[in-house]
Symmetry: C2
Subunit: 377 residues, 2 copies
Amino acid sequence: MNLYFDFNATTPLRAVAREAWLRANEAHWHNPSSLYQKAAEAKQVLELAREELGDVLGCEPERIVFTGSATESNNALFAQLSEKLSKDKRVLSSSIEHPSVREPLQRWFAKRVTLVRTTKSGEMDLEDLATQLARNNVALVTAMAANNECGLLHPWRAFAERCHEAGVMFHTDAAQWIGKEPGDEMGASDFITGCAHKFGGPKGVGFLVLRDEREVLSHLRGGPQEQGRRAGTENLPGVVAMVAALREAIAERETAACRQAALRDEFEKTMRAQFPELRIIGEGAERLWNTSMFVLPQGDNRKWLARLSQRGVAVSTGSACSAGHDGSSVVLEALGATPEEMRRVIRVSGGWGSGEGEWTALAEAFGEVGKDLGVGG
Amino acid sequence: MNLYFDFNATTPLRAVAREAWLRANEAHWHNPSSLYQKAAEAKQVLELAREELGDVLGCEPERIVFTGSATESNNALFAQLSEKLSKDKRVLSSSIEHPSVREPLQRWFAKRVTLVRTTKSGEMDLEDLATQLARNNVALVTAMAANNECGLLHPWRAFAERCHEAGVMFHTDAAQWIGKEPGDEMGASDFITGCAHKFGGPKGVGFLVLRDEREVLSHLRGGPQEQGRRAGTENLPGVVAMVAALREAIAERETAACRQAALRDEFEKTMRAQFPELRIIGEGAERLWNTSMFVLPQGDNRKWLARLSQRGVAVSTGSACSAGHDGSSVVLEALGATPEEMRRVIRVSGGWGSGEGEWTALAEAFGEVGKDLGVGG
């Protein structure tokens, strides 16, 4: 058995992305910044990819800077803004952001970061956001679009609106949103972070959307690539593969959203039948259609993971970016879970085309492991 | 006709690199930081790649951090050292470094950078280096291993020795050296920069070698990947493709060094026969076996490039990282060339397997364009 339910950690490469990558390496591997015909063609292919991504995100292509990862995009943005903004300006964020937002924020803004309260369901509290926007000398709000752990969808449009009313910039890390949820209004955010390997594109490619084409970025200095905003030879094969993957993910999105959510809900029903005390995080709230995060009634989550792994089942204790540490969940912590509860949390995240049989087998595997561990009904 | 002689800008993907990338995306696309069996396998493949690269460079694998590019490696290193070193410490460098060294050095050390004199042939002057090492409060010397423009090989081993005698750290940007020249003693440098697309690996992958496994790097913060030294999901397919390409480049290296240098020399002889006033940069000095840079007796180099491009010939005016600007050459400037001479410079850089027929056709193309432009004998 081979059941992969860790799509929020990373995804297999889509065939269309593989083909696009191979084609680019065949026909357009030349340095887009060079001055001969083939280089000019490569440059053109790169700009077409930028235009297509701009269409998908609802933003001008000139706003897009291709990067190596969502982590790079987040780090680059905060480093840049910390240089640009006066030293009395503050940043609002929440306690449930991804480490690649939390850590560079801490590095570059430290005590100038205020955490907006989260609601009981785990999202940034709009009322507290309004209060903080009025009170503090705020220059930027950063809030993720969809949570990587429990899949909670955040009202980023509302956040963006409040920010703009207050004359404050809004950044959203949309790594988990893009390709799964409707993306064509994302351009309303001033800054957007995304990366390819979360929707079937290759690893090592991401992007950062800036406010406009004049906005400076200077975390990687050297050559004049990306209009001087990110030095280094352009990863054209990676970029076109990312865009090809996104095109397909979006084409599959609506069907997946409907079908997968139903399968995920059915899975949760079966899980609750097996483990009546199961606590599902974000149940009832708007969530990504592929994600289920829950606290098992008993047993260390690493024990569960190991036994599931023996059965060929891949799930996680939370984010791969914090797993390997103490396995704790930022979201659960924000929701007031005890350390003991955090050691019992599991995240399951399916794909655009996960089959009914796979979801059923997944629930069964949990049932079997539960029996092994003496847990459940 | 399709003559590619711009290998110093970028290289086509080697078949072995393509296969390694495809295989990794097939079998090991899982997140190496996750906790199930397939993730553990991916992690193991990643560490094997690190070991192989360590062997090639003559350094402990623990010293290697995989990055997204040589530009990233350089920027990350200088940012880190500027945080770590006390504010009175100085850095020695030279005027012929790549922009991805010069610009972050300027950003992070500004007036604390001293440029060591270059010799007439264009390399860092060992005598002046010794003087500067004795005089200044120097913490770091950074000098490229092989020049990207004229191909000049720098005595980086001697630089490293002088530095270590003086208790000073030594960094070499070896992006053009690795895969072309013997690399197994590179580990003698404290810090080494390299990237895949200069030797037939994929774009968007590079590495930075640090002094030891305890050395901190924190330019990208977030998840705990790369032992906490570079956050972001590991680009395993890119890394294994890079190592596969390097393995092959090194296997071909000795034969290429012998055969290509002879072909290059023959090309230069023909060029001089066609253009008696041709000035070859670094002639007589130790150069990369694939590179020839010269000042044509007449005609703007962009005119030459355009006409060569029409004939399917890809060469450059210098580095792609500075082309697109004013086309000037850092090396030529350092060697005291006039702005007028700089507008007549062309760089030709072949591959490991460029054929005799290709080199001959290249010289002929120059001859034909010369006739068009009314230049030459």
